[in-house]
Structure formats: C-alpha cells, structure tokens
Symmetry: C2
Subunit: 365 residues, 2 copies
C-alpha cells in the first residue's frame, strides 16, 4: 500500500498521542488516533487508561465538528470485538468515516479473528495499513512480546563505574552515579509494570523498588526472586507496603506458618519453574507485561543466558575503583566476542557527570 508524505505526518502525530499518555495502560497497548478532514486535523485522542475508551473513541468524542467522510489515522488496527468497551469498528462505521489508515495489525488473536479490515471494507470504507509500522511496534514491544511469546518483556538496568563495576571489592555501591542521574531511574521504573531484583540485591540493599518523585500514580509491582521466604523478610521495606503489589518468586512453597504471614502482609508468591523463562511466564497472570530488572549480576547472568534481556539501560559514572567488584552481568556468558549480544539501536543520555547508554537487544514483530 502506498502512502503520501501527509499521511506519514498525520500518523506521526497519532504516534505522539500514544507516546505522550500519562501512565501505563498495560495489559493494553499504547494507541493514538488522529482525525483529518480536508487535509486538516480536526481531532486527536489516545487510550489513556486500561478499561477506558480506546484511542479512536476518544478522538471521535474530542471532535468539535462532524467526522463524516473524514480519515482516521490509528497506530493500531481498530478492534472489532467487545472487550471492556464495544468494538471500535462499529463506531467507525456508525460515524461514516471515509477512510481508515492504521500502522500495525493487532497481534491479539481476539482481534485478528474478527478481521477488522474486511468488516470495514464491506461498508465501503477505504482501509489501508503498514504506515510507520516499525515505529508503532517499537512503542508496544512489551504488548507484542507478551501476546506472541507468553513471556514478559524484560529491561535490564544497572549502574557501573567507568571501569565496569557495580560495587567496590568490599561490596560498597553507594553511589556510583549522582543523585540527579538516580532520579532518572524512577522515570524508567514508572514505564514498567514491575521492578524485579534477585536475592542478593534484595538482602544486601533492602530496596524499596517503588517510583518516587511523584512520577506515576500507578506503582509497578515489586518482585523478588529468591529461594525461600525467611522470617527476616517481614522486616524489609517491601513488607511495609501492604498494597498487594509485592510478589516473591520462591523455589519452595512456604511452610503454613509463613504462608499465613505473607497473606497478612498482602505479599503474593509464585513458585519457580524449571527455568527462568517459565518462572517469568507466570507473571502475565498479574497483567505484568514489562519488567525492569535491577540486579544483581547473577540474576542478570541467568537472564542473558536464557536470552531474556530485551532492552538495556546502562548508567555509567565517572568513578574508578579497580579491584574485584562485580561486573553488571555474570552467568555463563557468551564465548566469542563476535557472537556477542548487542544493542540494535544506541541511545545516549548525558547527565551532569554520568551518561546512560540504552537501547533494545530484541525486536518483536
């Protein structure tokens, strides 16, 4: 299908609508829509909150004039099934749109089964898609990966010294980067459904794993992967939250006594499976599609060894410590440098003294 330069610029606007939403909408995708009549934008809309209106409906409702014979640009195929809200194809037909252009097909089997394209074409609506498709896929990687593979999308985040260490030989890691750089991590937390650490990081650092600085109204889940639940964990910061958003991934089922205490503290637990992939798959039932993994190096190593790292944020300070401190990723590792995993796209953020290199390792179609 061919598109004009104007089409691309309207679709870009729709993408920006999707990107600029206030909070996470998972397990739904991020979607934006723009309505154009006589080559002028007459309305815009986005899906703002899980359970609320889809982007198309918000764009239609935001229009201050009739949308009859207009073109609607949507970043995702409009739904044709009844979920939390009625099908968007119905609204498009009812409002007599002349043309629908969307960026990517919906990988959700519920949608693809109903075939929105045929439904709309049957009503003589001109439908085309594939415009800025990669860009649309890029902003919904966790949604696509979860739907297509059943595994959450995992982002690895670490801070290291200029000589590649996450702590000194004695284990001290406070602080590698400046406070303004560390504030940025809270923004990164806010765009994920969950924050996860391994046992050592949990026991050594007792982290809160929440978003501070009023960045989000929807705190991510806090997850700890460890062998067994211990009495002392009930004195940890996580045990204080009591908001049903703390999950332990345990090797063995806790003894009855502990199970009761976990319930009292509103801490959930799931059991580890044969491998990390299967363990993480269970988190989809909590609507967790994206996880920010914050360490430690053993946890990161296990993830890399099972090709479970999809995106990386590497914060690099200008301190140098030498010695035998940890590297960000341990595990088995990759044998040959030319077979190394690498960023598909490199993004650079400069802070006062620190930098952050970030980018995707996997791309889900």
């Amino acid at each position: 299908m061919t598109f004009t330069k104007e089409d691309a610029s309207f679709m870009q606007m729709a993408l920006e609508e999707a990107i600029n939403i206030q909070d996470r909408v998972s397990p739904n995708p991020r979607v934006g829509a723009v309505i154009v009549k006589d080559n002028k934008v007459i309305s815009k809309g986005a899906h703002q909150k899980f359970g609320d209106n889809h982007a198309e409906i918000n764009a239609i409702e935001n229009a201050e004039q009739s949308v009859k014979d207009a073109t609607i640009y949507i970043t995702l195929e409009p739904c044709s099934h009844t979920g939390k809200t009625p099908p968007c194809t119905d609204a498009i037909i009812k409002n007599k749109f002349k043309k629908v252009i969307f960026a990517m097909l919906d990988p959700n089997p519920k949608v693809s089964k109903n075939n929105s394209v045929q439904l709309l074409q049957k009503e003589n609506i001109d439908v085309s898609y594939g415009l800025l498709e990669n860009e649309a896929k890029e902003i919904n990687q966790p949604f696509i990966k979860s739907i297509k593979t059943g595994i959450p999308y995992n982002t690895a985040k670490w801070a290291m010294t200029l000589d590649g260490k996450t702590n000194t030989f004695s284990g001290d890691s406070k602080w590698i980067t400046e406070s303004s750089t560390r504030e940025h991590v809270h923004q990164i937390r806010s765009i994920h459904d969950a924050v996860l650490v391994g046992k050592n990081t949990f026991e050594n650092d007792d982290p809160s794993l929440n978003c501070r600085y009023d960045i989000t109204s929807t705190q991510p889940y806090r997850i700890v992967m460890c062998s067994n639940f211990k009495e002392e964990y009930l004195q940890s910061k996580l045990a204080l939250f009591q908001d049903n958003k703390t999950i332990f991934i345990l090797k063995d089922k806790p003894i009855t006594d502990f199970e009761e205490k976990l319930k009292e503290h509103k801490i959930a637990y799931i059991l580890q499976k044969n491998n990390l992939t299967d363990s993480l798959k269970q988190l989809l039932s909590f609507n967790i599609q994206s996880i920010l993994i914050e360490g430690g190096s053993l946890m990161m190593g296990s993830l890399l060894d099972e090709n479970l790292i999809d995106y990386v944020y590497s914060y690099i300070g200008t301190k140098i410590v030498g010695g035998s401190g940890s590297s960000p990723i341990a595990g088995q590792g990759i044998d040959k440098m030319n077979a190394a995993t690498h960023l598909l796209k490199q993004n650079l953020i400069s802070f006062n003294n620190d930098i952050c290199l970030h980018g995707p390792i996997n791309f889900y179609e």
Copy 2:
C-alpha cells in the same frame, strides 16, 4: 594582574597554536605565541620540533612587519637560558617588544633560576602572567608532572563491553569496538611518547603497539613490563621493528646469551625497582614523559593502586557478553565508593556505535 577580554582572546589564539602543532615536541613543552600590534595580530608561531626554534622565535621570524613596540602573548614563560637554542628573552629585548604576557611560569628549574620576568622588566618591558594559566597547564601535563615529580604522566586506555568487560569468559576480545573507533586509538597513541602493556597482554595479543594510518612521523616507544625475557619474545611483532624504540622492563637481568640477542634486535631493557613508580621513573632518561597504558587489567590495577593513572580513555562498545571476563582494572582497588578516583572533567566522543569517555584524574600545577 588584570587582563582585558582582548588579552584573553589573543592568549587563546596562542594556545591554539600550541595545540595544533603537527607532532610531539617532548621532552619540551607545547608552546604557542601570538604577536599583536595596534590591537591586530601581526604574527603567530609555535614550537614545532624538539631542538628547533621556540615559539617566540618562530612568531618573530613569521612577522612581515617590525615587531617593535608590539605585545607578545606566549603560553609559557620565555626561557632565559641557553639550551638547544639561545635564550628567548634576548630576542624579546633585542626586538624591542613593549609588552610580554605569558600564561604560566616555566616549572623547569633551569628557567626559573634565571628569572625571565626580572630580566625583561630591567629593560623596561611590561611583563605580566597568569592569563589562561590552567588552560596552559592542561596542554602540558606530562611536561609539568615529569619535571615536578620525576615520574612520567600515564594515560590508561581500555575498550570494554556495555557490561564492563574487556574480554569474554574464554579470553576473546576481538573486537569490542568497531574498526573506525579503533582507528581513534592510533591518534591517541600518536600524542604519547610511549605505549606500554603488561606481560599477559603482550603474550596473549602479540600487539604491534605502533601508530598506524600515517598519523605521526615519530613513532612512540613500545614498552613491555614482564618478569623475564623469553626466547619466544624474539619471534614477537616488537622484535621485528629493530628501531631502538622497544624497551622491556624486566624483573631480573637477562642471562648473557639473551642480552646479546636483545642487542642484536636493538631491544633495550631496564630493570624493575621496588615499586611501579620507581620502575617508571627510569623512563625519563629515554625522554619519555607520557605513556599510554593499554592493559591488561593486572597492569592497570597496579597503576591505580599506586595512584599512577593520570588520565583515562574508556572506549565503550554496545556489545554485551556476560560471564566471567576481565574488568578493565583489577589490583587491590578502592574500598569505599565515596572514596573512588574519578574524572576531574568528563569528555565524550560518539562514534558510529561506540562511545569514548575520557578525562584527567590528576592535575599537576
């Protein structure tokens, strides 16, 4: 002493003359000079080659009109002693300059003993100094450190993966960065008097340690720090050069047989002292003021532990390997993160996919 905005801009020009020279002038400092008359630059000059004219003399010779009553801006105190060339103060007096402004005093005791300032003032020349003093010191750190401490200035250079490793668990390190990034290393080599590696890097990589890509006409010395000289080293790349610019720093004096072979191959050797500092001090007798240390991590660790790393180039690729590969700096290391060594100033170079963070750790006044 007070200076005008114009003074600063003329001194900046003199600094640029010093920076833009073609090759190294060590053991001399880098010096530039600008001659100004009626607020107009009438001539510029720099010290281009060890043994040749000083910057002042080149600026005077480059002038196409009389320099009488002019002001000369020099990045370093003019010399008042006869070295390889006659004293610059004589030329300044003879050419009847009205005013001399220089950036920094010469730390060389031969110069300071003669007191150029008094010499010139006695001839009624207006002399002031201290303008852009730090900037002038910055471009001559190896000169200042060598003169003041008797120890060469050491720059540590490494390439590491995005997860802080200089090789994979099996020791493979080819290549962490792209070829265009690696070309930049040859530029960095060209601004140093010597390139040094430890035993492991020498034995594992058999590096040439020379400047390629026609960057310099004056190859740096190639230095290897190792315990004893072995027969097999005579098959190494370094043994092929035979240009009197290869030095081994050995723990023990080689047996007579080897000593003969070293002579045949025009390979010099010196003996290690009690510590690394004393070992490196000996290199000043080869006119080596600046050394680029290229690894490995044990060598870097020993340097850091003796506070011998003065400047760092950390090349960071976007590959990720996990596992147990080496970190750029081993050694004893620093205990607490808040006591870590750090870059005093951070410079960032972006290559296609890689970046380089570089900056000084020590500053010599």
